[in-house]
Amino acid sequence: MALPVLEKSWEFELNHRITYPGGSAEMYNATLYDWKETWKGWTVGGATVAGSSDASASWGWGTDYWTSPTFPSNNNPWIVLNLNGGGQVMITRTTTSYVSRLYFSPGGLFTGGGLNTPPTATDQRTIWDTYLFGTQTWAVDCVMQYWHSIDGDCEIMIPYLGNNQYGILMFGRLANAVENWEGGRFYLYNGVNNNLTYSTLNVGSPFRFSYGGTWYTAHGTGLGINRSVVSAYNNQAVNSFSGRSPFPRIGLASKDAGARGWHGRLVDVFWANNQAYPTGAFLEEDVDHPEFKWIQIQALALPWDGVETELVTI
């Protein structure tokens, strides 16, 4: 049982520090701006700006008016990004300085809007509607971790604030998706700090997908023997036979009526062993692929570039 071979090619922005500028609202803006710039800036398959408003002077479709992180934080600035893998996301700041919202339109249907009025989409889904990654307090340095598959199908973002990991945002596309589900697109959002656990991702249902115009919740499945996924071996550092780190796959399954069943698997993201290794541990290096490693972040094993030597969290 060798190390898994990456199925996708990835770009990374790892240990991406955003220095606290001295005010929470300013930090909030700086983080959103960094996020937008990073997603736009991928070498291959980056997002494009569908439309935006700086909430003070300019807005319109086809132009990025978020030209600096100093836009007003409380007058409904917004930006719509076209994801290369399909669909659009819209980020807004609302009228309250510490509130942001993130919406997803799988059909890429955002339209309308104005200088202080975010557009809407008939298929829009609210991913969060209060705090950026569930926290109001962005008054410390932030370290962002970004992953991007160059086919545009997958974006992953994990923020760290003052050594606390604040959940995860992931857009992805399933491999081995069941037939009749065109696209196999899903997103994962969890905004609770230090909560990327088996319980959250498996027993909980933080995954979402749209099928036939209806949104469904989904669980991350794992190869296991009982109701605690991989519990038989997740406290073991290595497989007793192979001596290798375990890399159980993550599937996606729903028990919502209308879309029940196991529908596919995530690509290049695996369950990790959070009882045997701490967050930030590098799992085995693939000697055939020295350009990347595997890193553990709580219950997940993610690809990691061959450059950054540690997971910086503060």
């Binding site: 037939e179 009749n180 399954a253 069943g261």
Partner: protein, 326 residues
């Protein structure tokens, strides 16, 4: 999600009728002899009896069993060896009991009447107590089903108590594929009695089945040369607080296909931790199925279908019928 394609080809014994004799001991002798006969009777790559004991003599290969009258407790046992050298030892050691051993490196030796040949052997004990199978005091008859892969890598023996949809007991020996490096002899055996209220693999009584994988142990050992035996369970993708089959659906609501989940071997004891192989051609199904359900014929392989025993789908002959009544 098309139907899975078979990796191996198979022979079957279907619905072999074993009416109760009215004597529990006699019924157990007859089932023991049925096992002996089936293992050695397959057309392709059958097992061979390499050692045996009847009521009066023992040896290698020993007297063999010519009928159930050669079987009695605690004298009788046999060692069957498959084409890969894996040995299975069955010992009828007490009136309502039996003990089954597996030696993947085929190292059983010695033995005498009433004493199975364990001397110096590397083996796992698949079952050693409570083997009061086919409790004929209930007055129920039995149908025996057995599946054998023609390459000799898989055997399962499934007596089914008539009318109850219960597998009375089960013996399975399987070579796991995609074995983890370091597992030199990737064979696991399984044996479980039902005793009327238990659930021999594959969890034969319908309506139960969320936690079978927690409790049912396969046994094997890591390698020849003295490593300790270990236990394993078989598992599949699970989610939430129950099993994949929690939803009691038979068909994926998006694909419209049958829910059939591949199985893997997962070790949960010292010396055998981890996922270290998969079980070909056997799938977990949801609790929406019941024993005797047949899953659609595969149009590309019309010679077989899938048959549900408990929570599992096994490859089955083109005849879709599993007889669960007299």
């Amino acid at each position: 999600m098309p139907l899975p394609e078979l990796e191996r080809s198979y022979e079957w014994i279907e619905n072999a009728w074993y009416p109760t004799s009215g004597s529990g001991v006699t019924d157990r002798k007859r089932l023991a002899f049925a096992l002996y006969s089936l293992l050695t009777g397959w057309t392709s790559n059958p097992w061979a009896i390499v050692a045996s004991a009847n009521t009066s003599s023992a040896g290698w290969p020993g007297p063999g069993w010519s009928s159930y009258l050669d079987v009695d407790y605690p004298e009788s046992w046999f060692v069957a060896e498959n084409v890969f050298g894996v040995q299975l030892c069955y010992w009828y050691d007490a009136a309502s009991d039996a003990t089954v051993y597996l030696s993947p490196d085929g190292s059983f030796s010695g033995g005498a009447v009433g004493s199975p040949p364990l001397t110096g052997a590397n083996y796992s004990t698949l079952l050693n107590s409570g083997y009061s199978y086919w409790n004929s005091s209930s007055g129920l008859d039995c149908r025996v089903n057995a599946i054998h892969s023609t390459d000799g890598k898989f055997d399962i023996f499934l007596p089914l108590r008539t009318g109850s949809n219960k597998c009375e007991w089960c013996i399975a020996v399987n070579k796991f594929e995609d074995a983890a490096s370091g597992w030199a002899l990737p064979w696991l055996g399984y044996c479980n009695p039902a005793n009327g209220t238990g659930y021999g693999w594959p969890r034969a009584e319908d309506g139960y089945g969320f936690n079978w994988q927690e409790t049912e142990n396969w046994q094997g050992f890591k390698a020849s040369g003295g490593d300790s035996p270990f236990s394993a369970v078989i598992g599949c993708d699970v989610w939430d607080s129950y099993m994949a089959m929690e939803n009691a659906i038979s068909v994926n609501e998006i694909s419209g296909r049958w829910q059939m989940f591949p199985l893997a071997a997962i070790g949960n004891t010292v010396g055998g931790y981890g996922v270290f192989g998969r079980l070909p051609d056997v799938y977990q199904v949801s609790s929406g199925f019941v024993t005797g359900d047949s899953i659609e014929l595969d149009p590309t392989n019309p010679g077989y279908t899938w048959m549900v025993f408990g929570n599992y789908a096994f490859p089955w002959t083109g005849n879709p019928l599993l007889v669960t009544a007299e």
